[in-house]
Amino acid sequence: MSVADPGPELIQLLTPEGERVDHPDYSLELTDGEYRDLYRDLVLVRRIDLEATALQRQGELGIWASLLGQEAAQIGSGRAMAPQDMAFPTYREHAVGYCKGVDPLKMLGLFRGVDQGSWDPRESNFHLYTIVIGAQCLHATGYAMGIQKDGKVGGDDGEAVIAYFGDGATSQGDVNEAFIWASVFEAPVVFFCQNNQYAISEPLERQTRVPLYRRAAGFGFPGVRVDGNDVLATLAVTRAALDRARQGEGPTLVEAYTYRMGAHTTSDDPTRYRIASEVEAWKLKDPIERVRSFLHKQQLVDEAFLAEVEAEADALAARLRAGCLAMPDPAPSAIFDHVYADGSPELDAQRESFARYLSRFEEAGTDAR
């Protein structure tokens, strides 16, 4: 069996055809309304993503890292979190940010080049994006150690942490060190790996000879592989892992088995390293389609509801577009802001000297350059 084959251990509660199936270890009871909410989430985050991709094509964003195909992995895990749980994302977890209540418009700033994350991680419990592969897994582990020291584990109201990373990241030293630390200290952290099968051009086989979830055993904590295109299974599995952490039972590795439907980022050309038929095969496992067919079969939705969700997505996209276009470029002096908590006289002098330099162009009525 190739490592890229999901295998029988794949946890699934909703098949690609929209059939609800049972799993001995993971059950999930949702109300009709909760099913509809998940569908709505999935549709909205896909629309955020499509709109951002369009904005990049039109030159409004410098680059965009699309989550297309990974909506269920992100919504399932994002909705599994309690408000007090802390998430440490990579650069692709826009849907998790959405679940944590971060305005999607704010998530565009980094990609537009106006800031490096403008939301307050303390308010949203959604840390800033981390672009350096794997680094955030250690931050998540340390944060979880802090929760422990604060005595916030061991009850239902405990706190837990979730660290997001990709299949490529599992080769990085920081990620493996995070596994060790979390294990040794029994830190309340869930390692949530979205195995989307590629690290830019490199397929999973370049990173591992064993299914990723099995790595956890060697570090001394449980690992599970969930169908990352199944929002229900991802929700159930992540919730269980978070609860385990919250109760003081230590870390879990969740491998969400999924697929990156688009390019790595808008700068990438996937036709150079993967074949169209592979992408076509994964289209049949679309995370949203299966929920829609389930809802239809169960007669949980009518056309009016679906139209309402579409309209909401349209409105969200329009708001994003308008907000993005209206995002001002930062003032040149912003270069010098926030370098130090306590400031620096040297830097203040540089700021002033640069301001004087710029004002000479203004007096001369010309632009610099």
């Binding site: 650069y91 080049g113 672009i131 350096v132 030293g173 490199e202 912003a334 270069i335 040297e346 830097l347």
Partner: protein, 327 residues
């Protein structure tokens, strides 16, 4: 082969190709360098022609790329490692600074480390954070490493070949925003020495020292200055950042009496500081003004929409030249 007009990226590619052809011990390794040909296509087509054994898509891990390259070098190979972007070299910093740089010294010269660490560096491409950094001073500060920066296609082609042929570990900096600039490359020409600086444009009023991406800026500034009937600038491309070859800079400063050093990296303890110190030691009586440095500000690299303000440009360079006349 006749001279061909190539982009800087393609000139590197043909240089790597020649090295792979001529020495079976040469390996190319890094993230996405094989099938994809690198995110900047510098290694395009090499895996197809030299096989997966010699052009290696590595697992994701910079420390491991350099650490295993050291092991391969111990077995007689000559690895050329690609770090995908400047900001991602730091996970490998320990392997580079503590292991790679010191192996020859510690082994009393028994162990050679013919490893090239290629790093696309510098800003100006509108990228997100960690993709626009100038880490050269960290490496130039490390004894045992050599550090070079190419600025144009012909140098790119030759310098990568020379770096691969060298038995010392070399951090090879590629000016990523100049990857698409074109110039003729003659693969049969007599190459300029690798560790030598070079006067690219002669002038009489002020010397401008630059390297990597700022060389084009310096040349443009010299042209603009001449066209405006202004000052005549002499431009020196440093090329080798460690060891420094300052003979041509001293000679130039003795002629012009003025010096401006420019780089994208922050000014504080940057290469410009070393050049300025040595020039005042050697050329004190020739100097008409203090040596001035133009660099990035002493801040983290800012979001892309601020990089035009952050990066030294023609105006800031010419402003510094003007200031050397204010003394």
């Amino acid at each position: 082969m006749p001279a061909e007009t190539l982009t800087l990226a393609k000139a590197l590619n043909t240089g790597l190709r020649t090295a792979l052809e001529r020495d079976p011990k040469v390996l190319v390794m890094g993230e996405d360098v094989g099938k994809l040909g690198g995110v900047f296509r510098v290694t395009d087509g090499l895996q197809k022609d030299f096989g997966e054994d010699r052009v290696i898509d590595t697992p994701l891990g910079e420390s491991a790329i350099i650490g295993t390259a050291i092991g391969l070098a111990l077995r007689g190979y000559r690895p050329v490692c690609e770090i995908q972007f400047d900001g991602f070299v730091y996970p490998a910093y320990d392997q580079i600074v503590s292991q790679l740089a010191k192996m020859h010294y510690r082994s009393q010269g028994r162990l050679r480390m013919p490893i090239v660490v290629r790093i696309p560096f510098g800003g100006g491409i509108g990228a997100v954070e960690h993709h626009s950094e100038s880490p050269e001073a960290y490496f130039a500060h490390t004894a045992g490493l050599k550090v070079v920066a190419c600025s144009n296609p012909a140098d790119a082609h030759w310098m990568i070949r020379q770096a691969i042929a060298s038995d010392d570990p070399i951090v090879f900096l590629e000016p990523k925003r100049r990857y698409w600039e074109k110039a003729p490359v003659d693969p049969d020409a007599e190459p300029y020495p690798l560790f030598a600086s070079r006067v690219l444009r002669e002038g009489t009023d002020c010397t401008v020292v630059a390297y990597g991406p700022m060389v084009r800026t310096a040349l443009d500034a010299a042209t603009a200055s001449a066209n405006e009937g202004g000052r005549s600038l002499e431009v020196v491309d440093l090329r080798s950042l460690s060891p420094l070859d300052l003979g041509p800079v001293f000679a130039s400063v003795r002629k012009t009496g003025r010096l401006v050093v420019v780089h994208e990296a922050p000014g504080n303890l940057g290469l410009g500081s070393e050049v300025a110190a040595r020039v005042q030691e050697e050329c004190f009586y020739s100097l008409e003004s203090p040596v001035l440095r133009v660099g990035g500000f002493d801040t983290p690299y800012p979001p892309a929409r601020l990089e035009e303000e952050y990066l030294p440009d023609l105006d800031r360079l010419l402003d510094a030249v003007d200031r050397t006349y204010a003394y």
